[in-house]
Structure formats: C-alpha cells, structure tokens
Symmetry: C2
Subunit: 194 residues, 2 copies
Amino acid sequence: MSPFINDRAYLIAHIKTYISLSDNELAEIVNFFDTCSYNKKATLLSAEKRCDKLFFVGKGCLHLYFIDGLGNQKTIQFAIENWWLTDFLAFQSQKQSNFYIEAVERSDVLSISFSKYQELLSKFPKMETYFRTIYEIAYGAALMRLKYINSFSKEDMFFRFRDDFPEFVKRVPQYLLASFLGLTPEYLSEIKRK
Amino acid sequence: MSPFINDRAYLIAHIKTYISLSDNELAEIVNFFDTCSYNKKATLLSAEKRCDKLFFVGKGCLHLYFIDGLGNQKTIQFAIENWWLTDFLAFQSQKQSNFYIEAVERSDVLSISFSKYQELLSKFPKMETYFRTIYEIAYGAALMRLKYINSFSKEDMFFRFRDDFPEFVKRVPQYLLASFLGLTPEYLSEIKRK
C-alpha cells in the first residue's frame, strides 16, 4: 500500500459527468478522500469488522464477497473504474460488515469514512445529487440483475455476461467470475470450451 | 381508481423521519404528487411502455414483476407501506419499462412524473438527501438479498423470510410469495405443510 499522485483526477472526472461544480469546489471535495494503491488480493474490508469506509475505484477492480457455511468465497459484486463499493447497509448504520472487499487486481482506490462522508454531504449539497443519482442507478441495476437471475440458466447468464462485458470477462480471474455467476470453476471451463 | 383524502400524510410522516423541513415546505412537497387508490390487481406500470412514474406506497402493497419466456409472471420486488417502487433504470433514462407493477391488495399510492421529480429535487435540495438515503438503503438491501440467494436453498429462503417477515407472509397471496422465492406454488404449499 503506498500513496500515489493525481489519483483524485478519476473521481473529479466522474463527478463532473453528473453535476457542475467549480474547479475549486471539486478540488476541495476530493480532498475529503484518502487515496491508496492496493496490490492484488489486498483486503480493504473484513466481515464482522465495523464498516467505516466507502470506496471509489479510480483504476483496477474490487470485489465484494462473503464466505458461506462450507468455507467457499462467494462474489456478490464487482466494482471496476468509476464504481462505488461498500456494504451500504452496514456503512449507513455504522455496523459490522456482512462482506469482505478485496482487490481483484492492482487497484487505485479512494476512500472516505462515514463522518467525512456526512461532512462532505453537508458542506456540498450538490454531492447529495451526485450520490442520489449513483445509488438510483445502482439499485435499478440490482433489480435488473435479479430479473436476469430469474430469467436465465447459469449457463445462459455466462453467455449474456460475455456478450455484454467481453473485456471484463477476459480481465477477471475465472474462479471469481464462476463464483459471481454461481457456477463451479470446472463447469465454467466446460461451458467456455463448448 | 378514485382520488382520496389525507393520503399524503403517509409521505409527510416518512420524509420527517429522514430530514427536517417546515410544515409549509412539507405541504408544498407532497403537492408535487398525484394520489390514487388502486384496487387489487390494478396495473400501475406496464412493460415496454415508457416508465414515467415513481410510486410511493402509503397503504397496501405493490409488486414489480416480469413475464418470462414461458409466460410465467415472476415477482422481483414487493413494496409495502413507506416503500418506493418503479423500474429505476428506465425511470431515470425515461426509457421503456422492463417490468410491470401491479397492486397486490387495495393500495393508496402517491406518484410523481419524471419532470415533476426533477422540479421537486431542484426546488427542495433537502429531498436529494431524502432520496439519497432511501436508495442507499435499497441498494444495500439488494446486495444482502443477493447474499441470501447465494447462501440458502429456496426452501431455507422461505423459512428465513417467514421468520423475518411473519406478517408479510400471512398477507400476500401464496402464488406471489412462491414466485418471489423462485418456487412453484405447489412446492411452497408442501414446504409449509412440513
């Protein structure tokens, strides 16, 4: 983990696509965030620890997972560039996390604590609009994902995923993709061979 | 469908639990909404029609569903008192809905069009905070639901659901509950008999 330069530019660019703010305001906003560069497999959040961080991926990829009763790691959500990730229920209520967050590859990440997040929103009300829009999209996408889960077999889910996100399928380790789709890695290899 | 009186009080009470506004402001805010009383099985939103309404359930219960390739109705989300419901992706982009919304029982519902929603948010920035919080919780809950789907068998999902929401399980028609849990109505009856 080491600090890095100019990483806040990712967030500035993303905020600008949703709301208009002056360069001074944007500079002040991104200063609310800590920046970290994580190596592949680094742990950013652990289950059963208080969830006090909201993460923004500038570069790289994170995943949110839990460990099931049999000790298997199950990926629930990926976050690539310009995605926000945390256990949102636990973050909002400042309770223990239900999930782990880990870097899938080397990742440049911005993070904000709950108290800083509150301070940011109260000082820059336009950021309420930004986050309202982000979460509206994220929740809408989650409903669509539940529709897909109910529409397609796991095998068809893979083909759909590959067609919709070809670069992503090449990028992430196949055992994580298998976990996300609810397949065994062996079965995913078999589907891909077909 | 007929208009009814004093229904906006449900929304006023809900907004007050999240943000503080004067009585005058609250009165003005709820006037942005239309109010309707829907009979059981009334359709509020149809798939493949432009999604121009965001709904708030004052009293009653709605469900969001789609029709699969075999013509089966599949429930993705229920909304009871104090829940917001629409196809959020389609609403935000003003595109065709991917879902239907129907009243599960007689329901008193407030609705707002996309243009009125924009007007409301711009006139009352505190409503950005309200909706940001609502969606933050909704998205967090969706991630938890994906965790449950990946943790439990459909049978165990029912028992968990019954333990967490006993009143709700008694309230909704069993074929809808079965659809929501991904079970056939016959299999759900069998589980309940055990």
